[in-house]
């Protein structure tokens, strides 16, 4: 696997495939937190322990393959420039915590970038697995197989009563965080998200925007994930999440139909205006870009816009983040310079489509 390719291509190879319900669910993810039995968790482990762990992963797993996850590559945080770490965060291959706080951290990434195993993050191991579209069970099964594969050689920290032991009490038990990334423009437009979020929270699930730092979910992209990890089986955790995601999909579809029925040409106008902005602007802030990209994607899903690939939303949301823009420019950029770069990148990318 080439590190250069990971750094330069915004969308990971697995994202190019289309999954079920991908008009609304962009991707599904499962993360398992695991630790070595006899070594203190990274927060209290000494340099020697942490070095031993990362070296162990280099020795045992680098260049290895497991089923369809080929050529795992170990990337150590200390070998990366800040901008490169930022790119990995923007591609969701590593967490901000690993990037900023894990001096002895690293990540094993598979060729297709579907698997990333963070090493020495808050826990010794964080196994992450992505699948396109709405396929939570598949993500769980695949992650569980990877977990078994690692367990062939590793004694996990496990307790009969508490389950898999993790550094944070919020992860103990299954160590499982399952999530979906959803594009919900119609629920936002019809102002239903404000009402739905507290209801979802009540069910023990967490909703948050993926992009943007304010209260808004930029690009109308939301992540829904389980909060409870203890006392429920992995299967039940995923089932409970699925029942909510399923309802959100239904609500979003209904809302889309209703908007088309009620606004008709107005919606079409809004979509094509956004397409116009993306195709022509010379300066564009991330917030406006995200809004227009969300409109464009909705236009593609509703059939107003043809000949533009669906992955454009995912791809350009990642590509126009600060880390990527600077990686492309090969230098650091002021916010103003970024807005210019962002506009030209989007224009160039859209020209490729036609």
């Amino acid at each position: 696997m080439s590190l250069e390719r990971v750094m330069n291509e915004a969308i990971s190879p697995w994202m190019k495939e289309e999954g079920p319900d991908s008009d609304i669910v962009l991707s599904s993810r499962v993360r398992l937190a695991r630790n070595f039995e006899d070594i203190p968790f990274p927060i209290l482990a000494d340099e020697e322990d942490l070095t031993r762990i990362i070296d162990y992963f280099q020795q045992e797993y680098a260049q290895q393959s497991f089923e369809s996850y080929q050529d795992l590559e170990l990337i150590r945080m200390k070998d990366l420039k800040d901008v490169e770490k930022r790119v990995l965060v923007e591609k969701h291959l590593i967490s901000p915590h690993l990037s900023d706080h894990a001096n002895y951290g690293g990540v094993l990434i598979s060729e297709n970038e579907q698997v990333s195993i963070m090493v020495n993050e808050e826990d010794h191991m964080r196994i992450q697995l992505y699948v396109p579209g709405y396929q939570l069970e598949k993500a769980l099964n695949e992650a569980s197989k990877l977990d078994d594969w690692l367990e062939e050689n590793i004694n996990y920290a496990f307790d009969e009563e508490r389950g898999y032991l993790t550094s944070c009490p919020t992860n103990v038990g299954t160590g499982l965080r399952a999530s979906v990334m959803m594009h919900l423009p119609a629920l936002v437009m019809t102002q239903q998200m404000n009402r739905l979020v507290p209801a979802i929270n009540q069910l023990g699930l967490v909703v948050r925007g993926i992009y943007g730092e304010g209260s808004e979910a930029l690009g109308n992209i939301f992540q829904i994930s389980n909060q409870i990890t203890l006392g429920k089986s992995e299967k039940d955790i995923v089932e409970d999440l699925k029942s909510v995601v399923h309802q959100l999909i239904e609500h979003e579809r209904t809302a889309r139909d209703r908007i088309i029925g009620q606004t008709g040409v107005q919606l079409e106008d809004k979509i094509f205006r956004s397409y116009g902005v993306l195709s022509n602007s010379r300066i564009i802030e991330s917030k406006e870009a995200a809004k227009c990209l969300s409109d464009l994607r909705l236009g593609i899903d509703l059939g107003y816009i043809k000949n533009v690939s669906k992955t454009i939303l995912n791809e350009l949301m990642i590509l126009t983040q600060p880390g990527f823009l600077q990686q492309y420019a090969q230098k650091s950029l002021t916010p103003e310079e970024r807005d210019v770069r962002r506009a030209s990148l989007i224009r160039e990318r859209l020209q490729l489509e036609n």
């Binding site: 919020t170 304010g214 209260s215 006392g231």
Partner: protein, 187 residues
């Protein structure tokens, strides 16, 4: 609903916070959630740190009143993880465990924390690792088989019930032979 901190952006995060035993509803926007420390920057875990410290404040409340913290701490300082050196007091401050042994050291004291974080749950009910799960996997199978046998007996399907009973026996034999293997190993 607007954010209760900035009164500008809409509140997108809603949860209940417990401070000194008092429940308060919190409605904030994501920006304020980060800035006011309701939520950690860790993008993965929705940190319940504040919720936890709220719970701990409740426990430590009498101490701050007594003005003699060192004296009051002494009973709790007894709880210290032998393996990594983390004290219970430190755990309540940072909200993280130092090692696997911390869980055993702090034992039952953790139940109220887990209950709060995991919606009333304190016991694991999921996957069991092969290597470090001991014979738990087999014992779980036995439990499931026992239930199945009860159901079959209830349905008066005695032939099937007898088969299940034999399966239970062979599983139990597996456990017994594992135990004697361990003993051999020790000697």
């Amino acid at each position: 609903m607007e954010c209760q901190e900035c009164h500008q952006r809409p509140a997108t995060l809603h949860f209940t916070q417990v401070i000194n035993g008092n429940k308060t509803e919190v409605h904030v926007c994501e920006k304020c959630a980060y800035e006011k420390g309701y939520m950690s920057q860790n993008q993965d875990s929705f940190s319940l740190h504040n919720l936890l410290s709220g719970l701990f404040n409740f426990e430590t409340y009498p101490m701050s009143e007594s003005q003699t913290p060192n004296y009051s701490y002494s009973t709790q300082q007894g709880l210290k993880c032998e393996k990594c050196g983390l004290t219970y007091q430190e755990f309540t401050r940072i909200g993280k465990f130092g090692c696997a042994e911390c869980y055993r050291t702090f034992g039952e004291k953790l139940n109220p924390i887990f209950r709060r974080v995991h919606s009333g749950n304190t016991r694991h009910d999921g996957k069991i690792p092969v290597r470090t799960g001991g014979n738990l996997q087999i014992r779980k199978q036995i439990d499931d088989k026992r239930q199945e046998m009860q159901r079959l007996i209830h349905e008066e399907n005695f032939e099937e019930a007898a088969k299940v009973r034999d399966q239970i026996r062979s599983l139990q034999e597996q456990i017994n032979s594992d135990i004697s293997d361990d003993r051999d190993g020790d000697e």
